[in-house]
């Protein structure tokens, strides 16, 4: 029986000829990630093991990005603790404010993840790196601690669902719209415990930033990981960002998929997920009249350069609606500088938007744009659970940067067309 892309990567990292779905295996990891919320718990657990040192100072990345630059004393204490831990252990990839970016935008950009890697991160959106043809998945702090000590972790080999993407998406249909459409179709547990594997000639029309956005939200369908077939674009991206050796894993012809979906990208419309689940999707043509108070363009889903470019295209020469606060958060320092050099900030500021330093900030209701009771936001983030961006009776609508920017101008959810 053939193997899926995911199964092949896992088999290789387990030192096995082959694996099959359901098998419990121990694998070597190429990168272990943690942030300012999950690492403090991991450090406490790591100390209980008594290992004294980490398995490899180059294969751990610690990114304080959620509540940074620190929003209060408690969060500053948390970061202080992990900063000291990183120093003591000699961890090379600790990213301080000034180099820091939202972790899942930062790691690929720094070349820390390449095709064929196995990556675990104490953050659920670690699945983002599947865009590069890596197996990457979120775990908890204790798993992070054990992997920091041993360089290994355990997995149950997942079954897989194949998504064959076909056709060319319209101008305003981005990776975000594609993944929202898919989650709307299969539900927030539609891929529970499974891999989502993306293939098909439609990939030709998807930039790396589109693919990052798609893989990023695999977890929103309950998936263990999302992974893209490696092509020229992937290899160009890796060549530009990394000198780590990579390996391409292709699914076998006779690999087993529990389901196969064919998705014609040319038929998709800009898509919005209504509160309070990412599966509550509607096409932009069916949203109705929804007044909003805030727009957030940023996060590990959509804070990359192309996201900012498209937001700027929509906002150029326009004004943010007087009843709306529009907050734009480039995901990393590099993206920030690039946006600045391309003149995107002039457009944002002239339109009346605020531009922030990289942070997760409002995405998880941390800081930099918390919602009051009864307020509504359109956000390019990935979750719209109850209370996610602030008050339990506030609402988050998930959308692409184009829809978010158009909504900022209109004062209600609007199409960029």
């Amino acid at each position: 029986m053939g193997m899926t892309m995911t199964q092949k990567i896992l088999a290789e990292h387990a030192g096995l000829e082959s694996v099959k779905a359901g098998q419990l295996i121990k694998v070597k990891v190429d990168m272990v990630l943690g942030n300012d919320i999950t690492t403090p718990v991991a450090v406490k657990e790591f100390e209980k093991i008594g290992a004294g040192k980490v398995f490899d100072v180059n294969k751990i990345a610690i990114v304080p990005d959620h509540f940074t630059p620190n929003k209060d004393i408690k969060s500053a204490e948390q970061v202080k603790m992990i900063r000291e831990f990183s120093k003591k252990m000699g961890i090379v990839n600790f990213f301080e404010v000034g180099q820091m970016g939202v972790e899942h935008a930062l790691l690929p950009e720094k070349g820390l993840v390449v095709a064929g890697d196995v990556v675990i991160g104490a953050d659920s959106h670690t699945c983002t790196y599947g865009a590069l043809g890596a197996f990457s998945t979120g775990v908890g702090s204790t798993d992070m601690a054990a992997a920091m000590a041993t360089g290994e972790t355990w997995f149950k080999v997942p079954e897989a669902i194949k998504f064959v993407l076909e056709g060319k998406p319209g101008k305003w249909v981005s990776g975000k719209d594609i993944i929202l459409h898919i989650i709307g179709k299969i539900g927030v547990d539609g891929a529970l415990y499974k891999s989502m594997e993306f293939t098909g000639e439609g990939l030709n029309y998807l930039s790396m930033d589109d693919r990052f956005a798609i893989a990023n939200m695999a977890i929103e369908a309950g998936a263990k990981n999302g992974i893209f077939e490696v092509d020229e674009k992937t290899l160009d991206y890796i060549a530009e960002h990394s000198n780590k050796p990579y390996k391409i894993f292709k699914a076998d012809e006779d690999a087993e998929y529990v389901e196969v979906y064919k998705i014609d990208l040319s038929t998709l419309r800009p898509t919005v997920a209504f509160p309070h689940l990412p599966e509550n999707t509607r096409s932009i043509d069916e949203v109705g009249d929804i007044k909003i108070h805030q727009v957030v363009i940023g996060s590990c889903t959509n804070g990359r350069i192309e996201d900012l470019r498209i937001a700027a295209e929509v906002l150029k020469g326009k004004k943010v609606h007087p009843d709306v606060r529009c907050i734009i958060i480039p995901a990393t320092q590099k993206i920030w500088k690039q946006a600045m050099n391309e003149g995107l900030f002039d457009i944002f500021i002239d339109a009346g938007a605020a531009v922030s330093t990289p942070t997760c900030g409002p995405c998880l209701g941390g800081h930099m744009g918390i919602l009051a009771e009864g307020e509504r936001a359109v956000a390019t983030t990935n979750r719209n659970f109850v209370g996610r961006m602030g008050h339990p009776r506030s609402e988050v609508y998930l959308a692409s940067p184009a829809v978010a920017a158009a909504s900022a101008i209109a004062g209600k959810i609007a199409s960029p067309e």
Binding site: L24, I37, T38, P40, V41, K44, E45, K48, I49, G50, A51, H66, F67, K71, D72, K74, S75, Q78, G121, A122, D123, S124, T126, G138, V139, G140, S141, T142, D143, A145, A146, A149, T150, W154, V188, D189, L192, Y193, I219, G222, K224, L277, L364, G365, G366, R383, F385, V386, G387, R388, P392
Partner: protein
């Protein structure tokens, strides 16, 4: 190992943001976290939960973020076990790793009602509903997970390996 307690029942897709909202994640102190457990879904939870109580829920329990603070908050609230139709995978791992017993059993998740008195035996996967007089059977954990659990969680397991010279 077995537990017995009164059931607090919730629906499908209970996410980690409602189990413990991110605004409280600037600490990892279990007692602090427990004070806000379930706050955005059920303000009354912290007042009504008694040591030993069992949370029963529908599909995809614990979906969302990887925060281990979620099972930690439930455990520190006194919850002795969570029974669900299905669990989100990171929550599942985290619970095993930190020693919060969880049982996947669609039949029990469906049938048990809020306030029922329930007994769970983890070794055999048997769940007895004393209020209704019914019994449900969950699949027992695979061997490797049994080993993890009986070692006292992942950290103890890794420690044992380290002492055995495997590290």
């Amino acid at each position: 190992m077995n537990v017995r307690g009164k059931v607090i029942k919730y629906g499908d897709n209970i996410d980690t943001d409602v189990i413990i909202p991110a605004r409280y994640l600037n600490t990892s102190d279990p007692a602090e976290l427990a004070k806000h457990c379930m706050e955005d879904l059920d303000k009354d939870f912290v007042n009504k939960v008694q040591p030993g109580d069992i949370v029963v829920a529908g599909k995809n329990f614990g979906c969302g973020s990887s925060r281990e603070h979620a099972p930690i908050a439930l455990k520190a609230s006194g919850v002795s076990c969570v029974i669900a139709d299905t669990f989100a995978r990171i929550f599942y791992r985290n619970s095993i790793n930190i020693g919060l017993p969880i049982v996947e059993c669609p039949e029990a998740a469906n049938d048990i009602e809020d306030g029922d008195e329930v007994w769970v035996d983890f070794d055999t996967g048997t769940i007895v509903n004393h209020t209704k007089g019914s019994t449900y059977k969950a699949a027992p954990f695979p061997d490797f997970l049994q080993e993890l659990i009986s070692s006292g969680g992942l950290i103890e397991y890794v420690k044992k390996q380290a002492q055995g010279g495997a590290l």
